[in-house]
Symmetry: C2
Subunit: 211 residues, 2 copies
Amino acid sequence: MNDIQQISVILVDDHPVVMEGLRSLLEKNEMLDIVGAFTTGKATLNFLENHEVNVILLDISLPDRNGTALCSEIKEKYPRVCILAISNHDEHSIITEMLRNGASGYLLKNASSKELTEGIQQAIEGELVFSDEVKKILAKGSSSAKPLPKLTRREKEVLKWVAEGMTTTSIAEKLIISPLTVETHRRNLMQKLKVNNTAALIRVAAKHELI
Amino acid sequence: MNDIQQISVILVDDHPVVMEGLRSLLEKNEMLDIVGAFTTGKATLNFLENHEVNVILLDISLPDRNGTALCSEIKEKYPRVCILAISNHDEHSIITEMLRNGASGYLLKNASSKELTEGIQQAIEGELVFSDEVKKILAKGSSSAKPLPKLTRREKEVLKWVAEGMTTTSIAEKLIISPLTVETHRRNLMQKLKVNNTAALIRVAAKHELI
DNA sequence: TTTTTTCTACTGGTTTTCTGGTATTTTTTG
DNA sequence: CAAAAAATACCAGAAAACCAGTAGAAAAAA
């Protein structure tokens, strides 16, 4: 069976239907050897400890951790593996975030099977691969440049409670810090996300799935 | 091939991968006969004009129209067909909306293949079917009762501009009405969505995809 | 054509957020 | 360990949002 050099692939996605679809599509290609399929980041990392693979098809939204973090974690430990993100998120910022974290490409889930199999080949050859949709997004987005800013742990926490409708003072009480500190965090949040009031802050945060 | 009575099924989803997954999973079951697969609402309606089917597996987010509307449209014309919603949206409100529009069940895309095939059988037998996840959501939601409230045209408009970060006065100027009126709309919005400030309003609105 | 809903507008007062600064103490990281 | 980043905290005034009502006109539905 190892005719030429088969490409070993693992799938990471928590949707059985998607998983089955990927497997079914990829199995048709003799070049590809699906050696594993996992639904969590943890299971994936466990597997990688004992097995070497060429390509990982990685869904961004997993139950136990977010895909971008998992991506950089994997790339740190196993720099040679190719990670192809497969996701529903069509946000420019999320795509570039993935690439910054070492992904070799980004495909939307509405990608065609051709884009998929060809993408894997290209990724192996060192190319950056994108599905057509993604290319459009990148082309559009590059003009307005929207690098998702990094929020600190505390900022994220404050943001979460703000989104819940809590006021500055009640958040301060909850976190046992001064309201003035909470204000500062809110100010920094607005600055980072380039908005000038809470409404826009929450909207942008929601768009970037920060809350 | 028509051993007993095969169930004719069509798939409606704009993600090739998901489509393939569904097909692959369902083909294993002898009872099911996949007679069509479409990526748009329009193509689906066209097909239905000339063919009778038992079950439609319908994705909620389609390129050309939203699934809930398509569902009620189909049920109006072909009341006997069973529509099973397959979606990523885990919002209580969207689920019940689908059911109100005539769907025979609601499965999340992370449903297992068993849930899928069994669901189709049950739907044919007249049962309402839900994947386990959905049951949980319905159980939780029914206690706190969250029927997505209807917003008026003006309210939606105000909401949109609020989410953009505009203040009451600037919205008033834009719509050429009194700021006091805008205030009233905002108040009604908050009341309807059961929140008590703008932050929560935008969060809930985003969650329900109102903005 | 009634009835209901939506859109409009007001009074008047309270609470919260926003702005534009500055600055010390922890953590984290190179 | 030194430098950078993050978390903490303060002042004070302006701007905006929020609350609790009421109510007439316009539009849509019955």
